[in-house]
């Protein structure tokens, strides 16, 4: 087995420690910033939908604030956003670089895109369902949780899958400027040292992670669509 690995990937044995380390860093990025971004994205997506005109908690100021903020943040390329957010990261997590320093940028880079998609999913929900739940005496918060979110699980899963792919993309970019992770690994060994086998390894790992995620998403959609 080891012989086979050495034959296909001559550099693996030597770099495996570093590879596992960077894989770990990527998984931490996905878990920590991914989870925070997912929750924030849903909160802001819901906020946009319910505060818009004729929404269940209509509020022009809140809506306009988030609406504009999203447009502005989405307009800034991620690599520039990272640099821009260094002071914010220092303030919030105490550092602007390394693995922990990447969290803020990853979250700010993902939330605007994701909350727009959540907003779009929620706005496609049949308004009759909202009206029916109002007629049953539901409060706005009950409507958000038991109608907007519960009835949109397939849609939310779908946009989570879409966002996940672009999220993996920006974790690699973050890696390239100091956050570590397999993006960083690929740049150092695949690009700077020219180890083709390591590039292929990174590609394979990313494909596996994304496929697993997609498969889980498809399963959830299948189970929740009736």
């Amino acid at each position: 087995m080891n012989d086979l690995i050495s034959l296909i990937m001559p550099n693996f044995q030597r770099l495996s420690g570093e590879f596992y380390e960077s894989l770990y860093q990527t998984l931490i990025m996905i878990l920590v910033s991914g989870t925070i971004a997912w929750v924030l994205g849903i909160v802001i997506g819901v906020t946009l939908e319910v505060t818009r005109r004729d929404g269940i908690l209509e509020n022009k100021y809140v809506f306009v604030f988030f609406d504009r903020a999203i447009d502005i943040l989405r307009a800034i390329p991620f690599i520039i956003l990272m640099v821009l957010l260094i002071p914010v990261s220092r303030f919030l997590v105490g550092t602007g670089s390394g693995l922990y320093g990447s969290f803020v940028a990853l979250i700010v880079g993902t939330v605007p895109f994701f909350s727009r998609q959540i907003e779009s999913v929620l706005s496609h929900l049949d308004k009759g369902l909202i009206e029916a739940s109002k007629s049953m005496g539901f409060s706005p918060f009950e409507i958000i949780f038991s109608v907007y979110l519960k009835e949109s699980i397939p849609g939310i899963t779908r946009v989570t899958m879409i966002t996940f792919v672009s999220f993996i993309g920006i974790t690699a970019i973050a890696g390239a400027i100091g956050a570590g992770g397999i993006g960083d690994f690929a740049i150092r060994y695949g690009y700077q040292m020219g180890y083709r086998d390591m590039i292929w390894l990174v590609v394979a790992v990313i494909l596996i992670v994304i496929s697993l995620f997609q498969a889980t998403g498809k399963y959830i959609i299948k189970k929740t669509t009736h």
Binding site: S135, G137, F138, H226
Partner: protein, 342 residues
């Protein structure tokens, strides 16, 4: 039970003010089935939504059991809404939940125990005759079954009032009848006050006790359904009600094909509208027996509204001119409406 006082509702659509409901006053009595009819865009939907304040009127009062609900706090209003069930044209069932879970939705919030909820849901499913569909999802049901589930859900919190917003408009005629029958039963069994809004005249005819006719945001006539059909007061009420019958089809034929062989050109056609106990058959033979006037029937229709007959006959009379005059006098004496069609 329900009083609507001077209800007005205006919307702003594309910077233009739309006056959807204008100065509407209605009194709906306990345990009656009250219809609101009118063409699309007449303001019916907006009006019915003001009863549970899904649409808050721009001005006016909504009084339910003596309480002006426009003054309630949000929380009080939500509690009140539990006592007003509502069903919709497109059912509005939650697609990700089973029939059981859909009916459980309003019950869950009331804080009663799971066991009681299960019992209540079973009772409701029995009431709407869907016992075997508890675990089905809405998309596996037919339109009529979906509306039955919606009715069960609307009744879950034992409301006093049921609002029906075009509840049968998306259903075929046979299913419509079964839903109407169910509503009628509920009205009798549970003493439920039902407000039905519809553009289907047949719905009003079949189940409503009284009805209001709406046009351009105004209620132009409120009356018992029988009187509304037999003696509409307002010209536009007549127009609307005639759309429902098939007299118009006859008049169209009359206008198009003047050459029908059995219609004599030179003598007038009378339309007789008779209500209650007067019957057309006896009248025709009376005319002959008393005045030797023969009636040639060109069109006839008998409707049964709330089990009372409402008949219409279009006839041409032949006989001595003097006798025809007498016959017409006689018809008027019988409290039969007489109208000259041509």
């Amino acid at each position: 039970m329900i009083e609507l006082l001077n209800i007005n509702k205006t919307f702003w659509v594309d910077q233009k003010e739309v006056h959807a409901v204008k100065d509407v006053n209605l009194h709906i009595q306990k345990a009656e089935i009250f219809g609101v009819i009118g063409f699309s865009g007449a303001g019916k939907s907006t009006l019915v939504r003001s009863i549970n304040l899904l649409e808050r009127p721009t001005s006016g009062q909504v009084i339910i059991d003596g309480v002006d609900i426009t003054r309630l706090s949000d929380k009080e209003l939500r509690n009140l809404r539990q006592s007003i069930g509502m069903i919709f044209q497109h059912f509005n069932l939650m697609p990700s939940r089973t029939v059981f879970e859909n009916i459980d939705l309003p019950l869950k919030r009331t804080g009663i125990s799971k066991a009681e909820r299960v019992k209540k849901i079973e009772e409701l499913l029995e009431l709407v005759e869907l016992k075997d569909k508890a675990q089905a999802y809405p998309n596996q049901l037919s339109g009529g079954q979906k509306q039955r589930v919606a009715i069960a859900r609307a009744l879950a919190c034992s409301p006093k009032i049921l609002l029906c917003d075009e509840a049968t408009s998306a259903l075929d005629p046979k299913t419509t009848n079964s839903i109407l029958k169910l509503l009628k039963d509920l009205n009798e069994k549970l003493k439920l006050t039902i407000v039905v809004i519809t553009h289907q005249m047949s719905v009003v005819k079949d189940i409503c006790d009284r009805a209001a006719l709406m046009e351009n945001g105004r209620v132009i006539e409120t009356n018992t359904v029988y009187n509304l059909f037999s003696h509409p007061n307002v010209e536009s009420s007549k127009d609307f009600i005639e759309m429902a019958g098939n007299k118009n089809a006859f008049i169209e034929v009359l206008n198009k094909k003047n050459e029908l062989s059995y219609i004599k050109k030179d003598i007038p056609i009378y339309l007789l509208t008779y209500t209650g106990d007067a019957t057309g058959q006896a009248l025709m033979s009376k005319l002959y027996a008393l005045f030797k006037v023969e009636a040639n029937i060109l069109f006839g229709n008998i409707d049964y509204i709330k089990d009372k007959p409402l008949g219409q006959l279009a006839v041409q009379l032949s006989g001595e001119n003097e006798n025809i005059e007498k016959a017409l006098e006689y018809i008027k004496e019988q409290k039969i409406d007489l109208e000259v069609l041509r």
